[in-house]
């Protein structure tokens, strides 16, 4: 088991290198760079720019060098903890990211937990009560959730919250807590504001997960080993949890890896609608502005998040399924 974990962690290093390379190529793909865009904008505003000035700017950011050198410079800087400078925000990338990434992580993890708990309960219920009214209702709501666009759901929920509960949504904090230090009250306020984003972002994934778990469990329920367990006198609830459910959770768990990036990208539009201070909208802007260091770092952080997610799901899998543990 230990060697499996070590192997699995070591495997992340070449993956990260590869990912960073791909990211760099992708953000270099659009013609031009931030400096040329900046210059173009200045010229449109009638400001005369000197060739030397532009060259100085380019040199400062290493934009005059060949692409592979730029990449190496970027990586070397990152290894020292220097993630570059955001042209658009005019602040070091790290400080910009540090401000927003935690909220993204909080929303993602909360969404994932919400999605799991709901999918687990509903999936188990619908599989064990196949074709019951509850199963049909859950399936109907699930398909509705899959089919409704996130921003629409966000708007509907905002309206309901406002008109029924008189609760203003938007952002992650009420105005009085916006810049307050961390207290119990602020945490509660955050949690309250999390409810809608989590529901909005998590609905589609939850609906999908319910279907997955339901199908897996239905496959397992009539397997001979479940019947064997029944035939030796294991009580129904304990039998369900110990035998088919555990095996049904195996494919369910493996979804966590790709669920995380889904959540992050799904969150972007929601974050715009709900004005959440997360990385989604910022990434979008950075890409539009060709703010390469910011965009690159954000994508890299998100990739890291995905890799960690897959690692966690792989470890969970190995814990759930001895066949994986013993295979290596």
């Amino acid at each position: 088991m230990a060697s499996y974990i070590v192997r699995r962690v070591l495997m992340m290093i070449p993956l990260l290198v590869l990912v960073s390379g791909v990211i760099f190529i992708v953000i270099q793909l659009p013609p031009g760079d931030y400096v040329s865009r900046h210059v173009a904008r200045l010229e449109m505003e009638g400001v005369v720019t000197h060739e030397a000035e532009i060259e100085a700017l380019k040199r400062r950011y290493g934009l005059d060098r060949p692409v592979h050198e730029q990449y190496l410079l970027w990586v070397r800087a990152m290894l020292r903890g220097d993630f570059g400078y955001s042209f658009a925000v005019r602040r070091p990338v790290l400080s910009v990211v540090a401000e927003r990434l935690p909220y993204s992580i909080i929303i993602s993890v909360a969404t994932l937990l919400f999605s799991w708990v709901v999918a687990f309960l509903v999936g188990t219920y619908t599989a064990t009560r196949q074709y019951s009214p509850g199963d049909y209702i859950a399936s109907f709501l699930g398909f509705l959730g899959l089919a409704t666009p996130n921003f629409m759901l966000a708007l509907i929920l905002m309206w309901i919250m406002y008109s029924v509960f008189g609760f203003t949504v938007g952002g992650l904090f009420s105005p009085e807590y916006q810049d307050a230090p961390w207290t119990m009250g602020r945490v509660l306020d955050l949690l309250k504001h999390l409810i809608i984003p989590v529901i909005v972002v998590g609905t589609a994934g939850t609906a999908g997960s319910i279907r997955i778990l339901r199908a897996n469990l239905l496959d397992e329920l009539n397997k001979p080993y479940v019947i064997t367990a029944e035939a030796k006198g294991v009580p129904p609830f304990r039998r369900l949890c110990k035998y088919p459910l555990r095996v049904a959770l195996i494919p369910f768990t493996s979804t966590v890896g790709w669920e995380l990036p889904n959540i992050v990208s799904g969150e972007t539009i929601t974050a715009v609608v709900l004005s959440l201070p997360t990385v989604g909208p910022m990434l979008l802007r950075a890409l539009v502005d060709q703010d390469m260091f910011l965009a690159g770092s954000l994508i890299l952080f998100l990739s890291l998040l995905t890799l960690v997610g897959t690692l966690v799901s792989d470890l969970l899998l190995a814990w759930l399924d001895p066949r994986i543990r013993y295979d290596r």
Binding site: I227, T228, A231, K232, G233, K242, L320, D321, P322
Partner: protein
């Protein structure tokens, strides 16, 4: 004994010996969206104490569902809709427990499952959970019925593994099923079934998925444990060879019904029902090498429709006109030997309403 029909004299005599299990008019149906599958449709059979009964038949004849119905471990949406499963734990003079009357998820039935009556499934690969060790699953079976400490239960599990011939039982107890060979898995499964010392072992195709040399070992094992542990055995198989080696009595099933029952020799030397006869002739034998085998014409009909007359009439070489209209009653063709065929009786199987007094 009012539920017995007069035509079932042979059957009644058959019952004279001490029985441990007596199934009467068992019906297990599957209500699906496409229709009702009458998987088991009025089965009568008995297992004699300390004897082995074999149930033979081809796929779809209901032999497996019959065996699963005994403990009500039928896959959904199957359900027992009628009949009795009388279990006499100690002696036939005792009051029987009607297993069909007990609640499927109730405590009473759970107390019998795995304790008095155990089940060994075919395909040991899938009959044990892949995510728990062999020991975990055996210890669970033991501690459900007997209040042993964990350590004591583990000792007993190791002892049982040793008894079924698994080498290094104290190591193997911590292995997962995927680490064992097919034969070892089947042994482990048998160990789990026998760990509480059941009175009746139901073995559903216990050797179908394993190689012949391993099959010989497993059959040997079941036979010797049957004597050692004073067990009765109900063996379900499609393999007439296995049956010939293992059992005392045989019932032959076709389309959810018992078409012939009798002793081992009755069935092999004096097979009466045309289906039994045809089944035996379709096996390749050494002396008739290379010659065409006798075949049963046609196919098993689809599960949703049942013929109006005798279930086998469509495929029967001896079918008469009335075979297509009426269902024959079970008829005595010898001592403890009966067949369900108009060749031996004029009586018709009783109408469904007649069984009303059974429950």
């Amino acid at each position: 004994m009012s539920f017995l029909r007069s035509a079932d004299v042979g059957y009644r005599r058959f019952l004279m010996t001490d029985r441990i299990l007596d199934i009467q008019n068992l019906k297990t149906y599957f209500h699906t969206q496409e229709g009702v599958i009458r998987a088991v449709d009025g089965v009568y059979l008995s297992v004699r104490r300390r004897k082995a009964l074999g149930i033979v038949g081809e796929s779809g004849c209901g032999k497996s569902i019959t065996s699963l119905s005994v403990l009500q471990v039928i896959p959904s949406p199957g359900r027992i809709v009628d009949g009795r499963v009388l279990f006499y734990p100690e002696a036939e003079s005792d009051r029987p427990v009607d297993l069909a009357q007990l609640k499927r998820h109730g405590r009473e039935l759970r107390r019998i499952r795995g304790k008095d009556i155990s089940l060994v499934f075919q395909e040991p690969m899938v009959a044990l959970s892949p995510v728990y060790t062999v020991g975990n699953q055996i210890i669970e079976a033991l501690r459900l019925h007997e209040p042993h400490s964990k350590r004591r239960a583990r000792e007993l599990a190791v002892e049982m593994l040793d008894k079924v011939g698994i080498p290094n039982p104290d190591v193997m107890v911590d292995r997962y099923t995927f680490e064992l060979s097919g034969g070892m898995r089947q042994r482990a499964l048998i160990a789990m079934a026998l760990v509480c010392g059941p009175k009746l072992l139901i073995a559903d195709e216990p050797t179908t998925a394993i190689d012949v040399t391993i099959q010989a070992q497993i059959l040997d094992l079941i036979r010797s444990l049957q004597t050692d542990m004073d067990m009765s055995v109900m063996l379900i198989t499609h393999d007439l060879g296995v049956i010939a080696e293992m059992v005392d009595d045989i019932v032959v099933m076709y389309l959810g019904k018992v078409v012939e029952s009798g002793s081992l020799h009755d069935i092999f030397d004096r097979a009466s029902h045309p289906y039994t006869v045809a089944l035996q002739r379709s096996i390749p034998r050494f002396q008739r090498r290379g010659q065409p085998l006798e075949v049963i014409r046609g196919n098993v009909p689809d599960p949703y429709t049942r013929p109006q007359g005798c279930e086998f009439a469509e495929r029967c070489p001896k079918a008469m006109n009335r075979c297509f209209q009426d269902k024959p009653a079970m008829a005595e063709v010898g001592d403890r030997h009966s067949a369900k065929c108009f060749l031996f009786t004029d009586e018709v199987e009783s109408a469904p309403g007649r069984e009303a007094n059974v429950r």
